[in-house]
């Protein structure tokens, strides 16, 4: 039921929501008991839990949105996501596990566009409230370090 084509649809909507600045739509992609992390491949591979962004439950996902919109100080910029074709890696209770490559570009005034992050999504996707949702999205990035700041989710 959760086919590869459906996962691609989900990822396209996800990218569209973030890239068009509709940050308030972002929590909609997650289940209430979700885990969302942006974590380096280094930490992931070594089993270290620390992440650049660490959300354990939908509340922390929503808090991230609120904090970015209300307290963060940053130079205006545009993010642009590219998500590769999803690959279903397994079936589990109520859904599937899957991975998809991603690349994120950053554009800022007076600068050249820059590849900011490159890596893979490690997902657990389930049907919830009539739509496919992310029970887990680990954003595992390959790049060794972050170029200055990471403002928005990936």
């Amino acid at each position: 039921m959760l086919t590869r084509v459906i996962l691609d649809d989900l990822n396209a909507r996800y990218a569209y929501a973030l890239d068009s600045g509709k940050l308030d739509l972002w929590p909609e992609f997650f289940t209430d008991d979700c885990v969302y992390k942006i974590i380096s491949n280094e930490n992931f591979g070594l089993g270290y839990p620390v992440a650049a962004i660490y959300c354990d439950g939908i509340g922390m996902v929503r808090d991230r949105v609120v904090a970015i919109m209300q307290t963060a100080v940053y130079e205006p910029r545009t993010y642009r996501h590219f998500v590769g074709t999803a690959h279903i890696t397994g079936q589990e209770e109520g859904g599937v596990t899957s991975e998809a490559n991603f690349a994120l570009y950053e554009s800022i005034a007076e600068r050249e566009p820059r590849i900011l992050f490159v890596g893979r999504y490690v997902d657990r996707v389930v049907m919830a409230d009539g739509a496919p949702r992310l029970r887990q999205r680990l954003v595992v990035y390959d790049n060794y370090r972050v170029f200055n700041s990471l403002i928005f989710p990936i």
């Binding site: 942006i38 974590i39 380096s40 280094e42 930490n43 070594l46 270290y48 839990p49 620390v50 992440a51 650049a52 962004i53 660490y54 354990d56 439950g57 939908i58 509340g59 922390m60 929503r62 808090d63 991230r64 609120v66 904090a67 209300q70 307290t71 963060a72 100080v73 940053y74 130079e75 060794y144 370090r145 972050v146 170029f147 200055n148 700041s149 990471l150 403002i151």
Partner: protein, 414 residues
Amino acid sequence: MSEQPLEVPESRAWPQEGSTTRVPYWIYSDPEIYKREMERIFRGPVWCYVGLDAEIPKPGDYKTTWIGDRPVIVVRDEDSSINVVENRCAHRGARLCWAPRGNSSEFKCPYHHWSYTLKGELSGMPFRRGVGGKGGMPKDFDLAANGLRRLRVHNEGGLLFASFSADVEPFDRYCGSEVLSYVQREFSGRPLQVLGYNRQIITANWKLYFENLKDPYHATLLHAFFVTFGLWRADAESACVSSEDGKHGVMISRNRDRAGVDETSTLSSFHSELVLEDKDTVTPRREFADGKVVGITLFPCVVLQQQANTLATRHLIPISPSQVELTWTFFGYADDDEAMTRLRLRHANLMGPAGYVSMDDSEVLNQTQIGATACPDDRAVLEMGGKTADNCDHMVSETLIRAFYNYYRTVMGL
């Protein structure tokens, strides 16, 4: 083989006018200044942070890192002591270890297989006596004279430091007793466990980052998240403490409640309506008896951070006059309970490249670098909290920065 003499033009004179309160912008972009910093500071009589003891727990465990612009290997020897050697083969200069970490009983260079002990001693190479009676190294070739450069090492409660200088003071004298006591408060010898890294490029001169952590006053203004949730407030009981020579600094404060009716609530950075769903993110559990929040800048390249329940070292690795790599190593104590680890990870959301608080810093420091680079002949004005570099019992001051530059000028001959 002495260093090429560094020529800093005479026009690079420190502003006369109120010299303690003025910092010329050319120190943030001039390549000759940068070279002199590498020589006199990073390769000079200092203790440079190179990592945590807990990163290389087993004999043979090593990590690679940099001291200024020099690559080094930090390795645990068979006897569990720590060695630091230059990461560069004595033969023809190839980096010896190419991976960020590993475990090995020796260092073997991939190019011609020269082999070194974990102490950096050259132990041999293939074909030393030739092949079939031909070739090989000269008879008088002296293994002992061709090892890796080995650095002095100090382990302070799990914090590892190294020095290129044979003349560097003992670590306790280097810190001074007061700063040392703050270091030992967090690094008492209680075993640490690494929780992970955050690595980022700060697109600013390394000193701008160092200044940022000697400037408690910006945190009450720039960081709306801090102010709103009472984690850092100008009206908290606070202090600024420097080592006597000014090179190290300690900012001390306390986590408080959400702001009430005081100066803070009138600031534009205070958002009284803001509520988080996950209260734990902004609710520290008390873990140090003194109830303090302490940030230490240990010259020249590490910040020791304790804020809410997140503990980290922040290692500064200069890349160029306008960029510095910042490696955050988050850790806890080996005997932390699960609830504490859960809080440490949650509170790590405040830190790093996407930190609720630190994100503001990487952004504003980049803007400062842009401004300072564009106008090298102008200068910063550091008069908050007075014109001297004395310690103070509040945080509305730039005294730690003034103290730092008093020291810097001496070392740099500026």
